[in-house]
Every structure is written in C-alpha cells, then in structure tokens.
Symmetry: C2
Subunit: 414 residues, 2 copies
C-alpha cells in the first residue's frame, strides 16, 4: 500500500484545486455514454444539461470555463511575446477542440501520427503540420493524399531518402509538398543539427516537388524540467545548436519562415530563441499533475493554467482501514506519475496501479465520510495518454454537462 | 537513457521467443486498419492473407497457433486438476475470443465492468459472471436488464445494502437474480471473510428475488508472486480465511455451488483449495513480459503459455549511438513494467515511456543493422491494458493475417 509522502502532501495542499473542499451531491442516475449520446443533439450539445455527478463513471470531463480561460491566458501571453501557437492535437485528439483553438488565434495544429492527421482532416481541420517524418512509402503516399485535399498541410522530413520519397509521392499526387525539417533536440527524432541538416535543406530546396518551409525542433524532456530557472536555462541551452543550424540554413539562402517547437512547459521561454516562429503548446488546455508539479517563477505550482481535465470515479469499497477502492484504474487514468490528485482531499494518495480499480490510501482522515457509490473527482496524472483511453469527453459548465466532444483520433497511434 | 541490466538481459536470453533470431522481410505496403477492414469479410476473415509485416504500425497481433495451444494447455491442465475455467474477459474484451473460449471448454466468462458485460452480451456472449459489485442503483438496474435478456448472467454482491438493491431491481425487472458474494482477499474489493460474509449469505438466501450461487475470492496480487513455491504458499495462505468462510456458509445451509477465483498465475495451485469450483484465468491466452517473469517449477521463465500477443512497431530513427526510436510509445504499449521484449534482440531495452515513441537502447550490437522503416515485434509488458489501447487485433497464422478481431469492449471501463 503506497502512503502519501509529506512532500507530496505539502505539494497537493498548495494546489488550489486539490486543497479546496468540494460539495458533491448524491448521484441519482448514472448516465452512460449511449444515454448521453441519445440526449445530445447532432453537434453534441446537451440542453438543458445534466449534472456531471450523474454521469456513469469513470467519466472524462473538462471544465469549459477553465479550458476557455487557459486558452485566453496562453493566447494573451503569446501575443505579448509575439509568438503564435500551433497547438499539438495529440493532446486532445478531438476535432471540436482543434476548431476551437483555430478559432481563437492558433495558426494551425500539429499531429504526431499520420492516422491522427487523417482523422482530424476528415473532420474539417485543414491547417495541420505533421511533426513526425513518415517512415514508409505507403505512409508518405497517404500524407500526400492529405496534402492534395488540404493545401495547408505541412509534413516533417528528416533524411535525404525521406525527402526524395516525399518528393516522389508529391509528384505522383500532383502536388508540391510543403515540408519542414525535423532537427533533433536530444536523441529521439529528427536529423542532428549541423551540416547534415543544412545539406538536407539544400537538397529539399532543389527537389522539384518539395517546398521548404523551415524547421522543427522539439525538446520533449525539457517541458517538465523542475523550476522555471532550470527549465529556462536547459531549454535555451538545448536549442542552441538548432539555432545555429537555423542561422546557417538562412545564410544558405533557404526559406526558413517556420522555426517551430516548444510546449506548454516552455511557453514563456521560447520567444527568447532568435527566429522562433511558433510554439506547439498542447497541455495548456487541460494541465495535469505532471505540469502542476513543474513550478513557475512564483513558486512550486505551475498554476497559470487551471487543471480543467478530470476523471469522475466512484467509491466501490470503503471497508478497509485508511483506504478506499474506486472504479478508475490504469485503464481509466494510466500509470503516469505523479498520481492523480483527488480534488478536496490533499491527504489522499490515488494509485491507479491496478488495471480496473483505483486504490486510495490516506494517513489523515478524509474531509468527509465516503460511502460506497459516492463520487470523487481527480485531476489526471498526464493529460495526453488519459484522453487516449476515452471515446468522448464531457464539456462541463457550472457542473452541468454542456457538450459531448468525440475524441476522434483516440487510439490513432499509427 | 535506461540501459538494460545484466539480470534483465539474462532473463530475456532465457525467454525463447525473445532470444530466437527472426528474419523480418522488408515491408512493401503498410495496410491501415480501414484498408484491412475493407479486405476482410463480415466475420473478419482475411483470405488469402496478408503478411503481418505489411501492417501499418503500431499493430496489435496475436499468433493464432500459440493462442490455440495456450487454450489447449490450460484446458488440459485444468482437466487434470478437475477445475473448469471461467476466463476473465477483461483481458481480451473481444466477443470473438470469448466465443472461442466457450467453445473450448470454459463454463462461462467473467467481466470486471458492467459496460464490458453489456457489450459482450450484445455480441452474443450469454454466460457472463460480473465479478464486481455494482455501486449504484442505476448500474444495478442495467445489470438486471442483462439478467433478463441472458438468464445465465451472474452478479457479484458485496454488502447487505447492495444485496437488497439487487433484489429490488430484480423484482422490478421480473427476474430472480443469480448472485455470488465477493469475499475479499486482501483489501481491494468485496466483503471481508468471516461472520459478516456468512450473514450476507443468509440475507441473500432470504431475499425473494435473489438466488445465492456461491462466492468469489480473487487475489490479484498473488498472481505475479515470483517463483512457484512462493506463489503457491502465498495463494494458499491468503485464501485460507475465505475457505473457512466458504465452509461456514455451507454449514449454514447456503447454496455454495460456486467458489470462483484465481488466475493464470495460480492455475496450477487453486485446485488444492477445498471446494474451489472454477478458475478465472485470463492472461494464459496471451502471456506477457510480466507473466514470463514470474517463473515456474522448472525455472525463472513462466513458459507454459507462449507469448502470443505482440505489437509490431517501426524504426523511425537510427541515427543516435546505441539507440533507436520507434513509433510505439505508451499509447501503444502502456507504461507497465517489465518493459516490452524485442523478439530476436535480448540485448535491447524497449522503453515506451514517451507517449508517442518507443526508445530502444542497447549496450551490445543488435542482431542486425536496422534501417528507418524496418519493423520490430515486441512481446507486450502486460496484456490487459495494452489490448485496451486498440480497436482491433490481427489474428496471425504463419505470419499471415487470418482474421481481424474487434476489441468490442475497448475503453469500456464503466
């Protein structure tokens, strides 16, 4: 049984959403996904609304007021920095949310996987940049079909062979492909910065069916670096070789209008990178326990984006000392750490380590006496993979379900 | 970067499937899910078959020869022990596999969640035992609708209130509900063994719309206890209070035809429990890295069930020293440990810690020179939650896709 550490408890107490007491009404119904779909109109709108506490659990819900505020906060900050957003759709995998982002100032969205881009394109999202180079001729061919249908589609490339294959597929599709070079930060994806990357840019500029638009440089690891000063120092250091490559490409006369990367953890850092054109924020919509813990310039909680994404779960068992079992395990919350944060209960540790069940342990008495059937609301450990466990999320306003959003690209990992 | 430990490497080398060299043909197509669906007939059959290496990745595949042999092995062992199987459908969430189990000697299947039971019932699976007590009146009502449509449905109950609620719902539905008492092993679900459980049995036997069938006792933790002797000792010790409760219930004149529990890790232990009626094996179909590592009477590898369930993944990047990036991250393989085992490459460590990408590291040279676009096949870390990430699995025979099985209850965690 994992018990909550004192440092974890201190952290949770400092997260406003976790420490505030919440009154939870007794649920009376328990609307399942099919029932909710039947109530909603074609656009997913639910009128006059049903209490979120009446949803069958585990249920993925997003607080619309918080989500909208998060988008405003991000757009206002980026406006100040002169840096547009090109949010990563891998976070939400939902056409409805992508549309909202595009309607609220984002210049496009990113997709990590081809199937994700295909599904969102089919749902009307046309300004997609695919940030992963496609590793096979068949995938490249499908990407060029997307380009043909959606002229704003941009594709990452990362080797000379890959560039030639994209050019061939573009030719076959009768298009000129807009491409960006994925220049590696760290050792995960992309071509290493330096002469090889510049040579790739020069090749691309000569291939007849490619149009070079610029480069990508995404540092995944630095987004969760702990503490603003540390994060800033690391982000600016790891990007430095890429800045030099960017400059060398410009010097070589290449078209470098795009220099894209960054994320929610570096939203207020990447404008310091010379030439940076746009930032691929994603988690700012939802936040999560991982992001809350990275801290900011003011303290240990990264609190500029409210945790809008939660999972509602139900107490199944309250009979054993200092613990409870819920219906949300790893299939509902994933195994990511830090653990889910139970709203209103900073003294609880919620381990979703079992596939089907959550195990809550506590060393201090809970704020109330929980009965079987009572519900809890938890801030998710890590938003992206939790979203990928659900077919829909419920958009909530004032505790009432306002809309059902389909997670169109759920499971689209190909 | 996580490097493979020497003990891990020794373990992997001792797993036949991981240590054997495999020849992987160069993929030529890359069939996506929609293309494969279009090729298959209404029953999911694919004729004359497409090479598994030609599937778009990440792809979840199951080797049918191994799966069938695993079922035969389990059924033969249980026949010898005189213990029928009632497999847990949470493992595969697929009506096609449940049907195969029922056609091959299983007396029924178990479901962990109501929505799982609803979906599988709708697909024609009628001998379902729901092993989790439903925590709300609405869920109980839905369970009784299942009972009405499928008379063989059995429902777990775990408190007096819960029993009364099930009785009321059964009355309203015009049925007599078959119920089993979930008697706790450990501190997760169910009523603790002892007088309270017996009293619950007595109440159930008096409630007019309930028919007591027996009890459940599932010890999840002991399934993965390391080493056969340790596992056997622990399993027989933790079940002992429940055996006493079972005896007390019988002595009280209660109908105790069912005493169900156990799992793949204790398939060859639970017949030693007096009165035990059937075993809820699940992972025996697929095995996984977690099960392989628990050992058996002969050695450190639990090898009586072949690892039939694998994920095919593609190399995206091979440019950094002693590592490769693949297209299968935590959304394709989950964060469970031990890590996925790369078939043919016991010197590789496959960390699926990033959402979208796998990070393979190695300290000794791989068996071959991997290029971008090459494929790898990996044994999954933990079968249940990996299955829950996919909409379908491909049934493979001799490396050819023979059938597409829908994972009907994927995401049904409610």
């Amino acid at each position: 049984m994992s018990l909550i550490s004192s440092s974890r408890r201190r952290f949770l107490s400092s997260v406003g959403a976790v420490s505030a007491y919440v009154w939870i009404p007794r649920p009376v119904h328990g609307y399942g996904a099919a029932e909710m779909r039947a109530i909603a109109d074609g656009a997913g709108q639910v009128r006059p609304g049903i209490s979120k506490w009446d949803l069958d659990t585990p249920a993925l819900v997003v607080d619309l007021d918080k989500l909208e505020k998060n988008v405003q906060t991000m757009q206002a900050a980026l406006k100040q920095y002169g840096l547009p957003s090109r949010p990563h759709a891998k976070t939400h995998k939902s056409a409805a949310i992508a549309k909202y982002q595009l309607a609220n100032g984002s210049i496009g969205v990113c997709c990590a996987k081809l199937t994700e881009a295909e599904v969102l394109s089919a749902k009307g999202i046309d300004r997609i940049m695919m940030t992963t180079a496609n590793p096979s001729v068949s995938k490249i061919r499908r990407a060029m079909a997307l380009k043909k249908a959606h002229p704003a589609f941009i594709q990452a490339v990362d080797t000379e062979q890959n560039a030639r294959d994209v050019s061939d597929a573009a030719k076959a599709a009768g298009v000129v492909a807009d491409v960006v070079i994925d220049v590696a930060v760290g050792a995960r994806s992309g071509i290493p910065p330096g002469d090889g990357a510049v040579a790739l840019g020069q090749l691309i500029s000569k291939l007849p069916h490619l149009k070079l638009r610029g480069m990508l440089s995404y540092d995944g690891a630095v987004q969760h670096a702990n503490g603003f000063a540390e994060r800033k120092a690391r982000a600016l250091k790891t990007i430095q070789p890429n800045v030099e490559t960017f400059e060398a490409m410009k010097k070589a006369g290449l078209n470098m209008e795009i220099f894209s990367g960054g994320g929610t953890g570096t939203y207020n850092i990447m404008h310091l990178v010379p030439g940076f054109s746009d930032i691929q924020v994603g988690s700012y919509l939802f936040s999560d326990m991982q992001y809350l813990a990275i801290g900011n310039e003011r303290g240990p909680v990264f609190d500029e984006f409210a945790p809008s994404l939660t999972v509602l779960t139900t107490v199944l068992n309250n009979r054993f000392p200092n613990r409870m079992t819920t219906d949300g395990g790893s299939k509902a919350l994933t195994l990511n750490v830090p653990h889910a944060g139970v709203i209103g209960e900073p003294g609880m540790d919620y381990a979703a380590t079992s596939d089907e069940f959550g195990a809550i342990s506590f060393t201090t008495p809970p704020a109330k006496n929980y009965k079987i059937g009572d519900k809890l609301e938890v801030i998710v450990p890590h938003c992206d993979p939790v979203v990928n466990e659900y077919d829909q999320m419920y958009g909530i306003r004032g505790d009432k379900v306002e809309v059902i959003w389909t997670i169109d690209a759920r499971g689209k990992s190909q």
